[in-house]
Structure formats: C-alpha cells, structure tokens
C-alpha cells in the first residue's frame, strides 16, 4: 500500500533528524560557543542606573555600568576595591568654618565630608550610536526627529557606532540625573540629605521641566550642583553634609555609574521613547558586557564589550578559596565568557528540568525539587543527591545578608512600648515561637535562626556564645538551646497575662497578625504560627490582606504584629540597625522603622556607631557599641528575630569560579565555562527516546484501522 510506504518513509526521516539534541532550546548556531545560559523570572523594570534598584535589575545593570568602586570577588568580609577609580576614596573632614579636621575628629564637629575620586585614564565606552561622529567630530545622530527615525526600530538599526573615553563629567552628569524630576530615583530623597545642593538642583529641574513640553530633553549641564565638582578631566569631588562613612558603599552601586551627556541627549530626541529607544531599555556603559538583545518578555543577551578596559582575575581570597579552585585563574584577563543569554522562565519546573538537561549552567533549588537535589548527611551536613553527584553537579550554600522577622508595633497599647510588662510579653513570645522548627519544616533547613538584626558576614555579627541572644537561648554545651516554655510562661505571667489571660479581668490575650499571606502554602505556615502562640494559651488572629492594604496599615501604624524582611544594600551594620532607629519611625517620619521602636539609648548608640569605621583604630570601639545596641534590642525585643535565609545554588561541572556574593553583583565577568565539556555532556544527556513516536503511530493506527473496518462493514451491511 503506497500510504503505508509513505508513512514509514516519513518516520525514517524523522528518526534521522533526531540524531542530536532535539530538545535544545537554543539556536543550533550557538552550540559550542562560549556562552553562559541563565534564566530570569521577573522582567527587569528599569535598566537606567538612576532607577534600577531591585535584584532583577541589578543582575543586568551591574555587568554593564561601572561605578567607581566594586567589591572584591573573593575576599570576606566584603571589601571595596577600585573599579574605574584609581583608589578607594578616603574622606576629608571640614568644620563649619571650612577648616580641615583630623580623620578621627568627633562626628559632631564635622560639617562637611569631601570625597575625591580619580579615574583611571583610557577607559572607553561600549560601541553605541550616541558616540558616532561625522568627519568634523560632531555627533552623527544628534538632530533626529520622527521622520528621520522612520525605519529605525532597534538600536542595531543605526548603521554607525562610536565610542569615547570615560571622564569625570560623565559621573557628575549621572549624579545630577538623581534629581531629574521625570526619572524618580528611589535614592534621591536620601541623597538630597547628604550631597550638598542636590535638593536645590531637584527643585530647579522641576521648575525647568514644567516650562518645557512633556518629552523635551533637559540639559542637566545647565544646572550647577555644588556638591559634585569637576576637578580635572579624570577627577571629581563630592561634598557631603556631616559625616557619612557608608557613602563609599553607595559608590559601588549603579546609581553612581557614569552616563555621558551625549547618550542622554541621544535618547532624549523626539520619537525615541515611542520606539522604546531609551536608556531604560538600552543601557550604555563601560563594563565588561553590553546589552545587545533586549526582549524582556523572552530573552536578554549580554555580549562582551570589545572596548572593555581590561581587568584580571583576583589572586587572593579566603583561605579555603584555593582548595575550592577559586584561585586557579589568578591573573587571567576578564571576562572569560563571550556572551550571557538570559531566558525568561516564569515557572520553576521548566527551569529545573532544563537545568538537569544542561541547558542552564546553574540553578537555585525550589521546594518542589529539594528532595531530588540534596540530601542531609548523618551529621546534618547538606550534600547533593546521588543523582546530582553522578552528573557532576555541585552545591554552593551561603547565608544571605538578609533578615526576616516578626515585628511588634511599638505604638500598640498591648504589645508596644518600653514598659516592663510589654517587654516581658514580647520576650515570652520570642521564646515560644520556635524558629528552628520553622526553618526545618517550611524552609527545608535553608536558613539559620537570627539572634539580632545583623546577619553573618556583616560587621558586628558574632559567632558562638558572644552572639547568643540570652533572652531566648541558654548556652548549653557550646551551643544555643531555646529556653524552656516554662520561662516563657513565667514571663507572660509577670507581664500580667498568666496562662494567657488578663491578671485582673480574666480576659484572654488575643493578638492580631497582619500579613499579605493568603495562598494555600501559607495557610500551613500560619496554622503553625497560631499553634506557637497557643503554646502560651495566647490566641492569634491572622488578618490576611493584600500587599497594598498591608503597606497602608504599616504606614499608619494600624498593625499589632507583622512579618517583614530586609536585604542588605551594603555590608555595614548601619544598614540593618537603622531599621530600628527612632528617626526612621514609619508612622512619625515615613522611614524604614516599621515597628516604630524608639529607645533613646539605642538611638544614641546608633548615632555613634553609624559615624564610625569598622576598619582601623575605631573598629574595636564600634564593635563594642554594636554589642551594647544589640543587647538592648535583644532585651526590648521589638522584633522576634526570625531567620537569615541560606541560598542553595547548584552548578554544573563545566561552570567554574562560582562564589556566592550578596552585595557585589558584577560577578558575570569572573564566570568561566568549559565549553567542550558542556557540549559533550549535553549530547550524552539529551539523546532522544524515539520509541514513543513509533508507539504513538501504532496506537493511532490501532484506533483508525478498526474504525475503518467498522465503517466498511456497516456500509456493506447497509448495502
């Protein structure tokens, strides 16, 4: 039968086509190339350094833009090193009369801090049409309009590109952009308190913007900013109000990366924004990579910047780095990879399966795949499962510089305030809520119980007995042991609530937790939490609400208990302890202190601590102050210190030089891939299984043939 022959011919052709990785999600032309593959779940909202703040965004911007400073890739505690600058700047201090003060002058005397940054000459930007010039040196694409932009849909449609050297003016221009009224930089309010003249610049720009059409370009060079001055072609100088030692950390963030005026001018031309040709979509930098394909709905591609100024892989790190092979590439030029392809994966299951097939080079571990990926050793140590080990997959774990906590609203008449009964009530609840159990049940053990706001890796965090929270734990046999429930019950009774009832009127103690939870997975967590309160005969009422209402309640102080978390902006204790500083009160000052905790003694200690450096002679004193401040917080218990999450990351055997880094995000340049090994293993792991196709064809045949026979019989019967 001819159709039968055709069927088998087609099947043979299909089988022949299935010779190699049929499930490869990437174009065949990419096979064997030095490309790193990663995924992203949330599309980055902003790639403009003036706005980009979240981790989804900084994953990309940190590879493209170069602020003056960066973090050392291997050293811990996190150490700032120069990126485009020649050195990490050291502050010079001046009093109100302009006289220079000693480096250890009391903070109260310091009226102004001056940071001078000297850039390395010879650094050049990535190729970009904004830098393209004509024979006379004039920008080629300067006077564009909608008509001239016809046919231009992407940046790559501009036929010519150019580059130029990075200079101090580019940094100054970007700092002025923080005050741009249409850009809404999240740090403008905070920096306006510090950088001299930034607030005034914001007001001037706002007035100027009002007088211009909505999309008109605002030339920031026409507006002075006294707090940031050009010294020479490669040097600029910040003048800040008061003492602010944490400022250098901000200099390692993309907010302080350079944006050349001509780039801003280029994107500000009429018709550009309508085609999404904006800095927010097509960033321009001098970093090791440049964004060449931006489709945040499906994939983003970073390609090696041909003009990158060159940098080498570090040769020093932590003691264990050598054994981990992290120093093997010492002195090698960066970056190692030619391209990084980020594919959007909204769901964790496809991501995980593609990782196992070798199509992603690294992966986190979702709760769905936890048991498949890791197992707990006899001593409680975490190892990859046999399946992962057989594939050569390795596991990296690191405690994040974050904290999740259950906060008390200190304005609340029952749980708030610094009166002894309220403190004892909070202490009792701190003991009763078993964080270790929570971490074990709900996080697969991926976290450590917190004893204070400070996570590991941050100056002031102490290991061992010195870091113990004596309110919640006893130190027994060299390790912390949660205090018995009897202690919590006694504290509760002393607080005026014996057995969870009011000592005088006998009314039960009912507490209210406001949370954004509401999904199925969250119910079990909240049930568990309710049982923790019930251990003290305290009733917990959970008020689930949406994110907006929750935020509103927090702003108004209309909560009693709430869950929140904080990720470090920079590795300094100030960035965690300020969450409990009185001047940061959420209700009174719209700050970040959601508990509205005010303790004058803590505020005094915090003020002293925040103006000190961790290194050098003041380090020991700073540590002592932090210990006092932490002891106060442990006693007052404005939070139930929840946990610091631990990140588990899996990586394939061909991916080298991985080291967890919570604050430095420009890590792509250090990653190295053994491309040949990846290609070989991918082929080995992805041989197509063809028998199901044949089986499906037979099943189909088995269904169609009887139907045909039945039809034929019926027709004959009818005839």
């Amino acid at each position: 039968m001819p159709w039968f022959r055709f069927f088998f011919a087609a099947l043979s052709l299909l089988f022949a086509a299935c010779g190699s990785e049929q499930n490869d999600p990437y174009p065949a032309g990419e096979r064997g190339r030095n490309i790193l593959y990663a995924g992203f779940s949330e599309r980055p909202k902003h790639l403009d350094p003036v706005q980009s703040y979240t981790e989804d965004e900084i994953t990309f911007t940190a590879q493209i833009y170069e602020p003056p400073l960066q973090y050392h890739y291997l050293k811990r505690p996190y150490t700032l090193i120069p990126a485009t600058s020649e050195a990490v700047p050291v502050a010079r201090y001046y009093d109100e009369r302009g006289r220079e003060l000693a480096a250890d002058a009391p903070a109260a005397q310091i009226a102004l801090s001056v940071y001078e940054i000297r850039l390395r000459p010879g650094i050049r930007y990535q190729p970009h049409p904004a830098f393209a010039t004509d024979a006379a040196g004039e920008p080629l694409y300067r006077d564009l309009d909608r008509e001239r932009l016809r046919g231009i849909e992407r940046l790559a449609d501009f036929p010519l590109t150019g580059t130029r050297e990075l200079v101090a003016d580019d940094y100054i221009y970007q700092i002025k952009r923080l005050a741009h009224p249409r850009l809404h930089s999240p740090i403008f309010g905070m920096m306006a308190e510090r950088i001299v003249g930034l607030r005034e610049l914001g007001a001037a720009l706002q007035a100027a913007a009002r007088s211009l059409p909505a999309d008109a370009w605002l030339d920031l060079d026409q507006y002075p900013l006294p707090g940031v001055q050009r010294v020479d072609r490669y040097t600029y100088r910040f003048t800040l109000r008061g003492k602010y030692p944490q400022f250098v950390y901000w200099l390692a963030m993309p907010f302080f990366a350079p944006v050349p005026r001509e780039v801003d001018r280029f994107y500000g031309q009429p018709g550009m924004a309508e085609k999404n040709l904006t800095l927010d979509w097509y960033p321009v930098g001098s970093g090791p990579f440049m964004l060449t394909d931006n489709n945040p709905n499906s994939r983003l591609v970073l390609e090696r910047n041909p003009n990158f100024h060159g940098e080498t892989y570090p040769c020093v790190g932590e003691p264990q780095d050598e054994a981990a092979g992290l120093l093997a590439d010492c002195g090698q030029p960066l970056p190692f990879i030619d391209q990084a392809v980020y594919t959007r994966e909204k769901e964790s299951i496809p991501y995980w399966n593609k990782f196992l097939q070798g199509y992603y080079d690294a992966s986190g571990i979702s709760s769905d795949s936890f048991d498949q990926a890791v197992r707990l050793g006899v001593g409680g140590d975490v190892q990859v499962s046999d399946e992962m080990r057989d594939r050569g997959i390795t596991l990296l774990t690191s405690v994040r510089a974050s904290i999740f906590y259950l906060g008390f609203n200190m304005l609340d008449p029952v749980v708030g305030g610094l009166a002894e009964p309220a403190i004892k009530l909070r202490q009792a609840l701190s003991i009763a809520i078993d964080q270790e159990e929570f971490i074990s049940i709900f996080m697969n053990g991926r976290g450590i119980a917190a004893t204070s706001p400070l996570p590991p890796g941050i100056f002031g965090y102490l290991e061992g007995e010195a870091g113990n929270n004596p309110v919640v734990y006893d130190w027994v046999d060299g390790k912390p042991q949660r205090k018995p429930l009897a202690v919590a019950r006694r504290l509760l009774a002393e607080a005026g609530w014996p057995d969870g009832r009011h000592a005088t009127n006998g009314e039960p103690l009912v507490l209210y937790l406001d949370t954004t939870s509401g999904g199925m997975g969250d119910k079990s967590r909240l049930d568990w939490l309710t049982r923790q309160f019930a251990k003290l005969d305290v009733q917990l009422v959970v008020r689930s609400t949406d994110f907006n209402r929750f935020q509103e309640k927090i702003r108004k102080g209309a909560v009693q208990l709430y869950y929140l978390g904080w990720n470090a902006d920079y590795p300094d204790p100030e960035n965690f302890l300020f969450l409990l500083a009185g001047p940061e009160g959420k209700v009174a000052k719209s700050g970040e202190n959601a508990s509205n905790y005010v303790n004058p003694e803590f505020d005094r200690l915090f003020e002293r601590m925040k103006n000190m450096e961790s290194e050098g002679p003041s380090g020991a004193e700073r540590l002592a102050i932090i210990r006092q401040a932490v002891a106060l917080l442990q006693h007052d218990a404005p939070w139930i210190y929840g946990f610091h999450p631990t990140t588990y990351t899996l990586g394939h055997v061909w991916l080298h030089n991985r080291k967890p880094n919570d604050v430095g995000h420009n890590v792509l340049k250090y990653q190295r891939i053994d491309v040949a090994q990846r290609q070989r293993l991918r082929q080995e792991w992805n041989r197509p299984v063809l028998w199901p196709l044949a089986a499906a064809a037979l099943v189909l045949l088995g269904l169609v043939l009887p139907a045909l026979l039945g039809y034929w019989r019926r027709e004959r019967g009818t005839a």
Binding site: C18, E21, Q22, N23, D24, P25, P27, R43, K45, H46, Y53, T54, P181, R182, H184, P186, I187, F188, G189, M190, Q206, A273, E274, K275, N276, D280, N297, S298, T343, R344, E345, K346, E347, I349, P350, N353, K354, L356, Q357, D546, N548, Q551, E552, D569, S590, E592, N686, R687, P688, V689, L690, P692, L693, P706, A707, G710, Y711, R714, E715, T718
Partner: protein, 325 residues
C-alpha cells in the same frame, strides 16, 4: 446587512464605555494611585514627596471621577477617568507605567500568541469534530460508550496536568522537543509543537462530547431519515447533511472565540515561556499596571463584540433562511 453591522457597532460603543467604567472602578477600588506609585517606585527608601511627584507626572494626582475644584466641563474632564479613557477610544493606548509604549508591546506579542492559539484552534476543531462524527457514526456501540467515557475522563483532568505531564513525558523523559522557550522563524516549530499538541489533546474531551451531543440530536431528525431512504451513504449523510445542519450551534460557540485568540493563553504562555499577550496581561495585573490592564480589557471587550458580530454573519452562510434587517 451593512446597516445591521453599523447598528451593532453603534450598540458596542456604550458597552465599551461601560466596560471601561467598570474596569476603572474595580481597579481603583483595590489600588489607589498611591499604591501604584509605591509599586512602581519600590518599597525601599521611597519618600512621600517621590510618590507625589510620580502621581503628578502621570496625572494620578487628580480626582477619580469628579473634580469639584475645576470649572465648567472641567468638573468631568479634569479627572483621572476622563484623561485615561478618552485617548483609548481614539486608539491611543499610551504608555505602560514603566514608560513603554503599549501598542508597540501588543504588536510584538501578537505573533507569538497567534502562533499557538490559531493552529491549536483550527487543529482542535478538526480533530474534535471528526471524533464527534466518528462517535456519532458508531452511536450506541461499545466504541461510542468508551469514547464518551474517555471524553469525560479527559475533560475532568486539569489543563495544568496536561501541560506538566506533557512537558515531563515529551520533553524531559523522551527529549523530543524543548521544555519551554520561543524562537522566531523556522526555529519556532520545535517550541510550538508541544503546546499545540497539548492544547489540542486537552480540549478533546469537552469539545468532542459537546459536538457529539449536537450531532446525535441532529441525526434523529426526519431529513436524515429521508436522506438515508434516498440511499445516501452514511458518510454522505454525516458530512453533507448532519454537519451542515449542526453548524449553527457549533458556530455559536466557535466563531465568537476566534477574535479572542488574539489575547493569547494565560497558562500555556506562562509554562512554555511564550512571550504572548496572555503573559503580558498577567504581568500587568501583578505589577498593578493600570494602563496595560485597561488596554487589554478594552481590546478583549472589543474583540468579543467583533466575535459576536462575526457569529451573526456566519449564520447567513450556513443557513440561507437567516437575513439581517
């Protein structure tokens, strides 16, 4: 017919205004402009001044529906509702809250959405109508009985199961196609074949059963008996008479969804990583991007109205007795 269509289009206007009004009211019951500003600006270190500036720049600092401070018509026009609605009726969807052009985004996502939805729709219709005719042909036999049982079983399974199961079997175990992703041009087929197959298979249960019911009802009519008495083969009876006469209920359910294919599939696009309009809508809802939500609801309503009109028009092709006045 032209007058009828014009009349229907005019009827559509108040419907669209009403849908826009309801969308607007529902959205702002849940989200205040302050909430939107906070979500766009982030929750870290955002000052009340920054929020006020964001709202002022985007026109969210006005009252929602009535502006008592304005004079004359400004009472109604100097409001968020008017400012955000009037341009949309002129076909200008404006920009998303992150500054990107909505019309452009819709255009770029239309292709991927249609690349899945259209073949799934056509193939699904062919397969389910054929299967329903097959079951009708073998009605009251074991094949019919077990066919219906399988259909009921298939329609009882969640769509998510088909997706995850399909990805597990075809992509993970058998490694025949990529688990997820999307590529343009000739590369696209390897990404589309699995969602397409899953889309067709997951729809077989309910659709086949529904069409079978229609055909069975139709096959017991007198004209079918007459056709058989004339000596027509059963195949002729089914395709030339039963199918044609069953077209009205089929078209009622089918034609109306054709325009909605443009809106994409929320679940498939999400699991298969296809950058279509379904995922655009979901992203906008999550990001509380009112401009995008409003535009997508508006387009959805418009397409639904177009679908209903197409359904009416299609009746005239399958039933010559139907005329519009």
């Amino acid at each position: 017919m032209f007058a009828y269509l014009v009349r229907r289009l005019l009827y559509a206007l108040p419907i669209l205004v009403g849908v826009n009004l309801i969308t607007f009211a529902l959205f702002f019951v849940v989200n205040t402009p302050d909430d939107m500003a906070r979500l766009q600006l982030g929750v870290k270190r955002v000052t009340p001044e920054a929020i006020a500036k964001w709202k002022a720049e985007r026109g969210y600092d006005r009252p929602l529906f009535v502006n008592p401070a304005a004079a004359g018509l400004g009472v109604l026009t100097e409001t968020i509702f008017f400012a955000k609605s009037v341009r949309m009726f002129a076909g200008d969807f404006g920009r998303a809250e992150d500054g990107r052009d909505i019309a452009r985004e819709i255009r770029s996502r239309l292709g991927p959405s249609l690349a899945i939805a259209l073949p799934t729709f056509v193939l699904g219709l062919l397969v389910t109508v054929s299967l329903a005719l097959l079951l009708t042909f073998f009605r009251a036999s074991y094949l019919d009985f077990w066919g219906v049982v399988v259909c009921v079983a298939m329609m009882s399974i969640s769509g998510l199961f088909y997706i995850i199961g399909g990805q597990y079997l075809v992509s993970k175990l058998w490694k025949l196609v990529p688990i997820s992703g999307y590529g343009g041009g000739l590369e696209a087929w390897k990404f589309l074949i699995l969602p397409l197959a899953i889309g067709v298979v997951s729809g077989i249960g309910s659709s086949t059963r529904w069409y079978r019911t229609i055909f069975i009802e139709e096959i017991s009519r007198d004209y079918v008996r007459t056709a058989r008495a004339k000596g027509l083969s059963e195949l002729n009876v089914l395709f030339r008479h039963v199918l044609r006469n069953a077209m009205i209920p089929i078209l009622t359910g089918v034609v109306v969804v054709i325009p909605l294919l443009f809106l994409g599939s929320l679940l498939s696009e999400s699991f298969f990583g296809i950058p279509g309009l379904g995922s655009y809508t979901i992203d906008a809802i999550k990001a509380q991007d009112f401009a995008v939500v409003r535009a997508m609801v508006f387009i959805g309503s418009l397409l639904y109205i177009v679908g209903l009109m197409l359904t009416d028009v299609s009746y005239t092709f399958v039933d010559p007795r139907i005329r519009f006045h």
